[in-house]
Amino acid sequence: MIEIEDLKKVYVMGEEQVPALAGVTLSIQRGEYVAVIGHSGSGKSTLMNILGGLDRPSSGAYRFEGEDVAHFSDNQLADFRRRRIGFVFQSFQLLPRLTALQNVELPMIYAGLPPRDRRARAAELLERVGLGARKGHRPTQLSGGQQQRVAIARSLANRPDLLLADEPTGALDTKTSEDVLKLFSELNAEGLTLAIVTHDPDVANVAHRRITFRDGLVISDEHGEARP
């Protein structure tokens, strides 16, 4: 589904050029559950931003189901994010003014779904993540774990091909982290492709494949079932 070849990203800071990705080649198949591991500054977040269409590489190829995402225009990238990608962030990124239901509806508004359809689908998704009883709650009335589940429901709204999660358990305690990871495993079991950026080995061990980054390069790529 995803093919990356010799991907490079260089940030220009004043006169200095800081390489964030120094030539990454990898591919991800449909249905995979990938953990991207590395210290901060290793380039893993940059890779996620490029994979999610929030950023463009400086050089190299990025094909998503054959589409040349590396050379998309701003509008094409916006379309790509809307149709293909679901984002889950460490800090949830829910809009505080909106209820849980309205937050989940938001991506479907940009997709142009009629109000009745998107409300029904948002309600269905909140049921799916176990928050059927909290549709009318605002983010401030929900616990961290509940907020992250609302965010996951939102990421699924437009039936993405790839779910990208950036430290999804970083702001959660152990118990709620486990709930969120269990939800990810279930979604993967239903066929959703997942890529999770994390520095937490416990989180990485849930995935079926662990790609480790250091200094903008892949230093290991282990396949295998989830470790106990």
Binding site: D74, D79, R81, G112
Partner: protein, 408 residues
């Protein structure tokens, strides 16, 4: 995406901070209200002046002695340079004249049935009614013969009738004018207030020769006329009549080439036109000054929109991550700014209309909100919202989603 959803986003953001939104649009509220009130005051002035001038009669040329002339002329004519012979000459020689009405004026005390009233008396001929577009509602006007004979009869204005006799019929009453008894034979139709609070019904008409011999005679020659009203048959002949009257009177008064006239003619239409132009300019000026406050209101909106973009940077980043195009973000913030301004404009329009109504009621001034004030005010507020929302919206749309999402 559905543009209606963007409108919903915009109003949602405005409703989220009700106090702030109200204060932000206050500038536009004041600006629009000021423009509406100023415009309606200006239009009121226009109505006022039009009524005052057209109340004098239509297609009318007023001929008066020229008091600006030198001291020698003053001594010779005593300020009464017009004569009965001038009136006859105009009647005989000028084309397209509907009526010629010579008048003399005086201020007199009237006494009747124990009541007193001080009013203006006009010594006129029967043609005066036609020249000044007047008519008699009760009784009758005196005729040519009565005028020539200088009969002591009066046609009174509505105010005079009310002050002296209340609701009872004035026709047939005896009135003493400076101790000379006159008989009331008619009542003029009410013309109401002219502009500037002058009561056009506070007048009595009497035959020219009677006024000359009984009222003003002691101070002037027997054939002197103070004002000659010349009514042209139509609007299009007004200029021609004015020119012919001027030439004829110069002839009559033996004024040589290059000498100043000892009389002046005023054309009501051109006076009306000139004063209307002046008032329009004045109104435009007032509205422009009021419009400056609209600009100030716009700057207030721009300020708050810039704050909003900074505050909601993360929201903008999130919306982009969820698939919003830069144009979606741009339109969302532009609509928010336009909505703020438009709501301010609507409130301002309401306050302005109320203000104009208040001025009309309390100030006794015909201030009216014109029908086009509504669309104009709203158009202006939309324009203000667009112009001053453009830069903040552009800033929002240019944000880098990664940076924006990372912002605290």
């Amino acid at each position: 995406m559905n543009p209606f959803e963007l409108v919903r986003f915009a109003f949602g953001a405005i409703i989220a901070h009700p106090m702030r939104s109200v204060l932000t649009s206050l500038g536009v509220v004041i600006g629009v209200a000021a423009v509406v009130i100023m415009t309606s005051i200006g239009l009121g002035a226009q109505t006022q002046v039009t009524n005052a001038i057209s109340g004098l009669g239509s297609n009318l040329i007023i001929v008066m002695p020229n008091f600006q002339r030198g001291p020698v002329a003053q001594a010779a004519g005593g300020g009464f340079s017009l004569r009965d012979s001038d009136v006859e000459a105009i009647q005989k020689q000028v084309q397209n004249v509907a009526a010629v009405a010579p008048t003399v004026r005086g201020q007199v005390q009237l006494a009747s049935d124990g009541a007193n009233w001080n009013t203006r008396i006009e010594g006129v001929t029967p043609d005066y009614l036609e020249a000044r577009d007047l008519s008699v509602t009760q009784g009758r006007m005196f005729d040519e013969r009565e005028a020539r004979q200088g009969r002591k009869v009066l046609v009174v204005g509505a105010t005079v009738a009310r002050e002296l006799w209340g609701d009872s019929d004035p026709v047939g009453r005896r009135v003493r004018v400076r101790a000379v008894p006159f008989e009331v034979i008619g009542v003029l139709e009410s013309k109401g207030q002219a502009g500037f609070g002058q009561d056009q019904d506070d007048v009595v008409l009497a035959p020219l020769s009677a006024v000359r011999s009984r009222i003003t005679g002691r101070r002037s020659r027997g054939d002197a006329v103070q004002t000659i009203y010349v009514k042209a048959v139509s609007d299009s002949t007004l200029d021609q009549v004015q020119e012919e009257v001027t030439n004829l009177l110069r002839d009559q008064h033996k004024i040589r080439q290059g000498e100043d006239d000892d009389f002046q003619t005023q054309n009501m239409a051109s006076i009306l036109e000139a004063s209307q132009t002046a008032i329009k300019t004045f109104t435009l000026l007032l509205a422009a000054v009021a419009g400056v406050s609209l600009v100030v209101g716009g700057v207030g909106i721009m300020n708050i929109m810039l704050v909003a973009v900074t505050e909601r940077t993360r929201e903008i980043g999130l919306r982009m991550a969820l698939g919003a195009k830069r144009s979606d973000v741009l339109i969302q913030f532009a609509l928010e700014s336009v909505a703020l301004s438009l709501v301010g404009g609507l409130i301002g329009l309401g306050i302005g209309a109320l203000g104009a109504f208040g001025i009309a009621k309390l100030g006794n001034w015909p201030a009216a909100v014109p029908a086009w004030a509504g669309p104009l005010a709203l158009g202006f507020s939309v324009a203000v919202g667009l112009v001053f929302g453009a830069y903040p919206s552009w800033r929002a749309a240019r944000l880098d989603p990664i940076e924006a999402l990372r912002r605290e």
